[in-house]
């Protein structure tokens, strides 16, 4: 079953490569006016501004453009997110891979089998307040990455906040150690889910990591197509990955 899964992912990657080679534009032939970045520079979600922008030959006011036109890159209220996960999503996949490689490196250097002890009992105040603060911190991290397409934030900060909650658990309880099997399997499945979203986009829209879901109303929770789903996978992946790094820092080898 595992081999079948690996073959499926590899076949998808090869398919993606062939599609990419087929659609590439020869040098000097690209239509500069139709670039996605030009659309982004003309974007304004407030729609109060009277500035016009040009679509083809006719001029369109902003209000009609943002709420009326269903562009693939117009769905999310947070412009940064719509660049990072829509327009530049392949680069984000690279960032996630870099983080994965560095987490593997930390595991190779620092990993062990036994929980390292601090040698003194943890602070009573810290231990009691961790019980109150921990669910709030985890909830805040989840809020940050679920609302990544609406407010500043996203998958990476949300995952880091969740890892900070795990660090608080480690500091306040000497017996606690993270279940590495759950953490590693969550990390791996979420990382491959991102690639699978990309491949579904390739099958549905003809481009890797294409935004294949409807955009909805700008500013509502279920909007921006695939962006919230991708940010949830990124948030869970980064959270479990950095929690694993925190756990490996607190481990030591036998002897």
């Amino acid at each position: 079953m595992r081999r079948f899964y690996a073959i499926l992912v590899a076949a998808g990657l090869v398919y993606m490569l062939f599609m990419f080679l087929g659609t590439i534009v020869p040098y000097g032939k690209a239509d500069v006016a139709d670039r996605v970045s030009a659309h982004f520079l003309a974007k304004d979600v407030n729609s109060i501004s009277p500035t016009k922008w040009v679509e083809g030959d006719k001029q369109v006011p902003h209000s009609e453009r943002v709420y009326g036109r269903k562009g693939f890159e117009d769905g999310s209220a947070n412009v940064v997110t719509s660049i990072v996960v829509n327009y530049r999503s392949f680069d984000t996949l690279g960032e996630v891979t870099v983080l994965f490689a560095s987490a593997v490196g930390v595991g190779l250097i620092l990993g062990g089998t036994r929980r390292m002890k601090y040698g003194r009992k943890p602070n009573f105040i810290l231990r009691v307040s961790t019980g109150i603060l921990l669910p709030l911190i985890i909830l805040f991290g989840i809020y940050i990455f679920v609302h990544g397409h609406l407010t500043p934030g996203g998958g990476f900060p949300g995952g880091t906040i969740i890892a900070a909650a795990v660090l608080l658990l480690y500091l306040s309880n000497e017996e606690f150690s993270l279940n590495m099997i759950v953490s590693k399997s969550l990390e791996g499945s979420m990382g491959s889910l991102y690639v699978i979203f990309g491949l579904i986009g390739l099958a549905a829209g003809g481009a890797f990591l294409f935004n294949f879901l409807p955009n909805g109303v700008v500013g509502s929770l279920f909007s921006a197509g695939v962006v919230p789903l991708v940010y949830m996978t990124i948030g869970l992946k980064v959270g479990s990955e950095l929690s694993g790094v925190v756990a490996e820092i607190h481990e030591e080898r036998e002897g």
Binding site: K121, N123, F124, I125, L126, S129, I132, L133, L136
Partner: protein
């Protein structure tokens, strides 16, 4: 200018004054523990006053401001207590003017 805006501005001014006192205390106090106490008091009271001032002058932010105040009230004392305990256990001496050291020989609750 309406009344709640004036009240909010006064609260923000009080918060800025507490921040100033905190900075002065960090500059003037003799050792780590006194500086920590000055800094924590100032940030707690200053943040409370400033954030509630923003909430009063703009009523649509009032609930958010109260939530921020609740979180600061939960985290700030814990953080400063942990910092003070860590610096005591790692051997930072209180200054010579300290009269009572109730934590001496302790470290266990």
């Amino acid at each position: 200018m309406s009344v709640n805006v004036i009240i909010g501005d006064i609260l923000i001014a009080v918060g800025a004054f507490f921040y100033f006192l905190g900075g002065l205390g960090i500059l003037r106090m003799p050792d780590v523990y006194n500086r920590l106490q000055a800094g924590t008091k100032a940030t707690t009271l200053g943040t409370f006053s400033t954030v509630i001032g923003v909430g009063v002058s703009k009523p649509e932010f009032l609930i958010k401001a109260l939530i921020i105040v609740a979180f600061v009230a939960m985290t700030n004392p814990v953080g400063s207590s942990v910092l003070a305990r860590a610096s005591y256990l790692s051997g930072v001496k209180p200054c010579d003017c300290t009269k009572v050291d109730e934590y001496k020989g302790g470290g266990e609750e």
